[in-house]
């Protein structure tokens, strides 16, 4: 049995979480709040690190004065906690984050997830599997037509949507099966920790 402070603490934390399975209780509640606090403190520390190394140091040491702009934007985020009418200033950095974030994901999504995926589906219909892949992909797309303008106007779309639903259900099954597998790994690792690293029974 390993009684070092760290391992024992970690074991107690694990048991506190598992106690929820019996019922909600004080030990679980303490673990829950401890967890939230640790996570929040962790983010602040990591965030500060980034601000220091990517902005403050290059600004002070290398004279990259342009970095005042992102520093100012970052500081403005906190104006929402101000009393009075200056809360709107927090929208400026949000606008910057939203603009860059959504543009970066959209510009790349159109290539990697639209064009390249369609391209990968343009395959010759020379095997049952290939036919199923093409028909299934089109069926799923058909399922997600929402406006009646198209669903009623195009014959066959209704049946396509039905095929799409079955294909998706099979895909959900795959995700479920994989999911179960992954979750068991997590339990295994916790049991290896409690019964192996802590109690020394393995």
């Amino acid at each position: 049995m390993n009684l070092s402070v760290g391992i024992t603490l970690a074991a107690i934390m694990t048991i506190a979480c598992y106690s929820y399975l019996w019922r909600e209780n004080t030990l679980y509640r303490i673990a829950e709040h401890l967890f939230v606090g640790l996570g929040a403190g962790y983010s602040i520390a990591m965030g500060w690190n980034n601000v220091k190394t990517n902005a403050i140091n290059p600004l002070l040491n290398d004279g990259q004065y342009i970095l005042i702009v992102p520093l100012l934007l970052g500081a403005l985020l906190f104006t929402r906690f101000l009393p009075g009418s200056n809360k709107w200033l927090a929208r400026i950095p949000m606008a910057f984050l939203v603009g860059t974030g959504i543009a970066l994901s959209a510009r790349a999504a159109v290539l990697a997830e639209f064009v390249q995926q369609i391209r990968a589906t343009i395959i010759p219909l020379n095997s049952v599997n290939n036919i199923l892949i093409v028909v299934g992909t089109i069926g799923v797309l058909a399922y997600f037509f929402f406006s009646s303008k198209f669903t009623e106007g195009i014959p066959g779309l209704k049946y396509g949507a039905l095929v799409g639903r079955y294909v998706m259900m099979a895909a959900f099954g795959a995700a479920f099966g994989n999911g179960v597998m992954g979750r068991i790994s997590l339990l295994i690792s916790r049991l290896q920790f409690i019964f192996g690293s802590w109690l020394g029974l393995m």
Partner: protein, 205 residues
């Protein structure tokens, strides 16, 4: 000003970055890289927002001795400990990593592993072949499990092959269809946001 300035910023950086993707102009590329590096800094500030919210909510609960103030004080102590050690001693310091390794990591892993118990009870309680669709989901799930766990192979050597087929054909088609649809969704949301048609992120006031 309160709306137009943020909208202008969103449109400007957004269209700049989209434009940069399709054309080769050094000046445009340089500024895209600048913008993305700025995001690292601004997003780092944003990490602190959650903590400020928690400080306000739980600080109030503790000072007013409202129900749950004991747990809230545990939360605050943990928050302050991680912040102080992380900032003053550094995120690679022993004090910081000790709490991460022996408290945060096991709590996180244990909480996640609760899922397997919930899957077991949901499987027993709710996962029924109520319709043909549900049956397809169930059968595909069970075959996948048998195909990927070593025991399935012992029961019937074909299970891994069928599981692979499910992954490579129906699963591929299902996911690809959803992926293409989602890409269209992202691109059209981007347009609405960059043109200021969708301003949900700014709030209503």
């Amino acid at each position: 000003m309160r709306r137009s300035l943020p909208l202008t910023i969103t449109s400007f950086v957004g269209f700049w970055i989209v434009f940069d993707y399709f054309v080769k102009i050094d000046f445009v590329r340089t500024w895209t890289v600048n913008f993305t590096n700025w995001v690292i800094i601004v997003a780092a500030f944003a990490l602190g927002l959650g903590a400020v919210n928690l400080l306000r909510i739980h600080g109030k609960r503790v000072t007013e001795r409202r129900p749950g103030w004991m747990e809230s004080s545990v939360l605050l102590v943990a928050l302050v400990y991680m912040t102080v050690t992380g900032i003053f001693l550094g995120t690679s310091s022993e004090a910081f990593l000790f709490a991460f390794t022996n408290l945060q990591q096991p709590l996180s892993a244990a909480m996640f592993s609760l899922l397997v118990f919930f899957i077991a009870s949901a499987s027993f309680r709710a996962f029924r072949a109520r319709s043909i669709e549900a049956a397809v989901l169930l059968i595909s799930g069970v075959i996948l499990m048998l195909g990927r766990a070593p025991i399935g192979e012992v029961i019937w050597t074909k299970f891994p092959d069928i599981a692979d087929w499910i992954m490579q054909v129906p699963n591929l088609a299902g996911n690809r269809g959803i992926m293409i649809g989602a890409a269209i969704g992202i691109v059209s949301v981007a347009m609405r946001v960059l043109l200021g048609i969708d301003r949900g992120y700014m709030g209503q006031e």
